[in-house]
Each structure stands twice: as structure tokens, then as C-alpha cells.
Symmetry: C2
Subunit: 284 residues, 2 copies
């Protein structure tokens, strides 16, 4: 028997589209509903033929017992306001945004009697958009669940159950702790990769036709869609700013050691970085 | 008929070991000779059973018509001095170092009557050492050949022929131009990846057990062996310093836009970086 009566996905790009495909394949609900702002995405979603696709978000959420909001981070409050008139009493609202504290604040506009529990499945890629959606996107991916502590325990339990049913391994922490963690493992690397790409692009030796694995690996995530990332970086600005300052300081450290011709200092910095990097590949 | 009478490889780690394996598989010479500083590497090389392995570099080069010096960049002058008494008149000496101008200067200690033509095969990985050597390491990899213009044309032609025979696509330019190019595509990304790893490692949200593809890709090359890289970065210091300054500037730019809450500026920087990054994947 399906776990949910009706699942509604609001904002169906890479993440939202994949939620619909995965929920359909795993038969998680009696019925599926979806909405996307873009007519092209709606046409694609209709083509998948797994969900009833609506032209406006308020109709999409009517009658759903669980609603997943997967619009860009800087559109969340607007989306919460838009769906509010259609939400059923007692409905669970979760999301898939890459920041959690700012979205928790935005969710305060939801009507009383609706329960919000934030989530962040660590799935995705530099390929955004409904066209890249996949029923396998969440398989074995970590997913943060970030309750405030004041919501009903049953809502938190259902949020874990939902993301686990899509294939995720869920991890619970506060929204603040989540934002600190993803700054370190995702937002700061993303911003740094973009800055490095801009820097290398300004050097006299740069030519896109002559490149190497080092530059390509180091800047791969800078190919990400800026309209998605501007919202993420702005919404997690304090942690990202602190991380970028640390990157500037460490880069200056290494540069100054080179300027001083201090081979031992350079060696020590590179060795410390190597040990840290190797720790990421150690089996958990 | 083999192209060379006897090929000698001096310094047989990942690159030198792979030269021996590739030359053997492709039957490039009547005989192969090798030397490595490390007894463990020499034992490994003897196990490969493709070359006569010597305990000292001067014996390794005796009778060779082509000598490949593949010791670390900061050991090149020392190696050139060490092999000089054993070099045959008319022998061609080439190398595989990641910087070219400094090695061209170091090669001035070679005896008159020996011809040096610098080279840099863009092959390798964060896995250093003889144990990772492979006959396929050079297949379809770019290789810079950096003549001074004052050596015999036949030496330059033979250098191209040698690296091509190992599988490389050779590209000719000056040592100075080479150093500018590899700063942009390899040395600056390497140094920046190390600095980013140190920065992320210092953040409160960092935990090696919780990581993501973004951080892993962006810092992958920081796992490189520091004893190799310290020599490379020091020998190409002017270009690397300029590149690190550019990285600091671009990082500060992005950070300041976040501090100012200037979403349009952040969006523009991310968009410029995305366009540059996408240009690296465009088919040549």
C-alpha cells in the first residue's frame, strides 16, 4: 500500500522532476501532482506521464498530504505564499533547498495547521533542469533533515520516511549546523571554483584549447547554473563569506612562501593540504 | 627496426617507469637502461624485466643515444651533473619536467657535444611513484617540446619522434611560453586546490566523514605528492605567484559582492565563470 495519498511537487527542475520520477517508480503515493514555472518543463513533465501537471502551484497542492517545494532558494518564500491557499489542513511541507536556516524563516508564512520540516538531499549535478531528472538521482545519497524541535514528532518521522523511500540516507541536525556543513563541503568550494576559473581565464597562458585534468577537475562545479547558485550563496552568505576569507588567507600564505623562496614552508603547506585531502577518501 | 640503439631513463618514478614500459611495449630501442634513486623503485623496475637497471646514474646512461631525465624538477641540475661523465658524444638528452625555462638553464652543465631538448608530457596523476607506472600513460596525451632554437634541427626532430612514439601528441613552443601555459592550466590550479583544502579544513563545518562531490572534485589534485610539487611551484614561481594573486583578487571580488548583498554582481561573476568553464569542454 502506498505510504502517501497524494504527493505534490512544486518546482520541478532537476530535483523536483526526479522526486516525481522516483516516487512513481517506487509507487509511494496513490497519485502524484506537479507544477513548474516553465511551460517547457511542464511539457516535459507531461511527457513523463507519471503525474498530473498543473499550470499554477495552488492547484497542484490541493488534496496532497505531502508537498515538496523544490523551487530555487531565493524563490522559496514567494512559493510558500503562492501555495498557502491550496494546502490541506495537516499537510506536511518539506523542501529540497541547499540552505536551511533562511528557508526555515521563509516557511513561517505557511498557514497554521500545516507542518514544515526542511530537508536537503545532497543530489544534483552541474546539469540543472527537468530534462536531466532521473528516478535514480537520490539512490544512496545523503539527505539532511532539519527540524526546529517545535513541530510534531510525526511530521519529522514522515519527512525521514519520505526521503528514505526515494533512496536517501537521512541525517538529522539543526538548520544552522546544516548551513555550516554545506558551506564547507559545497558552497565555499563552488564559489572558490568560480573565482579560480575567473583568475585562470585572466592569465596570459590561458587558452581553452590547451587544458588539463587539473584545471578541469578543480573548476568543474563552476559550470553550474548561476541563477540557482546566486540564491544559495546569498542565503548562506555569512558562512560562505567566512570560508572565502579563509581561502584568500591560505592562498596568500602559499603565495608569500613562494615569494620568499621558502621551500620548507611551501612543502609544509602542500603536505598539510595533502593529508586533509586524503582524509576525504578514507572509508567511513 | 627500433628507432633508437639504447634508451636510458634516469629517475624512474611514475613518468620514468612509464617511459620504460611504453618503450618496451612499442619496441623503440635495441636495449633499455634505467636508474632510480630509490632501492625499492629499482627492485620494482627489475621486476618489470624490460630494462637493465643500474645502481648509479652514470652507468645507466653509458652507450645510450637518447637519455630521458625524469627526476624531480628541483633535482635536475644535480642529475645532469651526475650523468655527464657517462654520456656519449652526440647523445640526445630530453626530460619530462613540468617547468621548462629553469631546466633549460640547468641543462647548461651538460658537456659540449651532447644535445638537450626539453619536453613535458602532460601525463601523470595524483598517484606518484614507480608502482603506478603504465605503458599506456602517454597514449594520446599532449607533450610540449621546447627547443631553444640553437640546437641541431635533427635533435628537435628526434625529440618529437621519441615522445610521439610513446603515444604523445607533441606541441612545440618556447620554454617561457610553456611555463606561462602550464601555470594557468596546472600549477595555479594545483596551488589553489591546496589552499582551498587548507581553508575548508579550518572551517567549523568541516568533517572528513561528511563530504560531497563538489569539495572532492575541487581539491582532488591537492592529494599530489608535495616533494614533487614544491620543486615545480618554486621553479615556476613568477607565473604561479601572478596566478595566485589573481585568484585572491577574484575570491575577494566575489566575497565583497556577497558582503554587499549585491545579487546582480554575484550572478554576473558566476555567469562569467560558467561561460569560461564551459569553454574548456568545447570540442577542439
Amino acid at each position: 500500500m502506498p505510504q502517501f495519498k497524494r504527493i505534490a511537487v512544486v518546482g520541478a527542475g532537476l530535483i523536483g522532476g526526479s522526486v516525481l520520477l522516483a516516487a512513481a517508480r517506487r509507487q509511494l503515493a496513490g497519485s502524484l501532482a506537479g507544477w513548474s514555472r516553465s511551460p517547457e518543463a511542464r511539457a516535459l513533465l507531461k511527457g513523463y506521464a507519471v503525474a498530473e501537471i498543473f499550470d499554477n502551484p495552488v492547484d497542484a497542492v490541493r488534496g496532497a498530504d505531502i508537498v515538496i517545494v523544490a523551487t530555487p532558494v531565493d524563490k522559496m518564500e514567494e512559493t510558500f505564499r503562492a501555495i498557502s491557499p491550496g494546502l490541506s489542513a495537516g499537510a506536511l511541507v518539506t523542501d529540497a533547498g541547499s540552505v536551511k536556516a533562511a528557508i526555515q524563516v521563509a516557511a513561517r508564512v505557511l498557514p497554521a495547521g500545516v507542518h514544515f520540516v526542511g530537508a536537503h538531499p545532497m543530489a544534483g549535478s552541474e546539469k540543472a533542469g527537468t530534462a536531466h531528472a532521473s528516478a535514480d538521482l537520490f539512490a544512496n545519497r545523503p539527505c539532511f533533515v532539519t527540524p526546529t524541535g517545535s513541530e510534531p514528532g510525526e511530521s519529522v518521522r514522515l519527512t525521514h520516511a519520505f526521503w528514505q523511500a526515494l533512496g536517501c540516507r537521512t541525517v538529522e541536525c539543526t538548520a544552522q549546523r546544516h548551513d555550516e556543513i554545506v558551506a564547507a563541503i559545497s558552497h565555499v568550494p563552488h564559489a572558490s571554483a568560480s573565482a579560480l576559473m575567473l583568475a585562470v581565464g585572466s592569465l596570459p597562458g590561458f587558452d581553452p584549447a590547451t587544458t588539463g585534468a587539473g584545471l578541469k577537475d578543480t573548476t568543474r562545479i563552476a559550470a553550474g547554473e548561476e541563477n540557482l547558485w546566486v540564491g544559495i550563496l546569498m542565503a548562506n552568505a555569512p558562512h560562505v563569506i567566512a570560508g572565502l576569507r579563509a581561502a584568500e588567507d591560505q592562498t596568500a600564505n602559499l603565495r608569500q612562501a613562494l615569494e620568499a623562496g621558502d621551500a620548507e614552508k611551501v612543502r609544509q603547506l602542500l603536505a598539510d593540504a595533502r593529508v586533509l585531502r586524503q582524509s576525504l577518501d578514507r572509508p567511513a
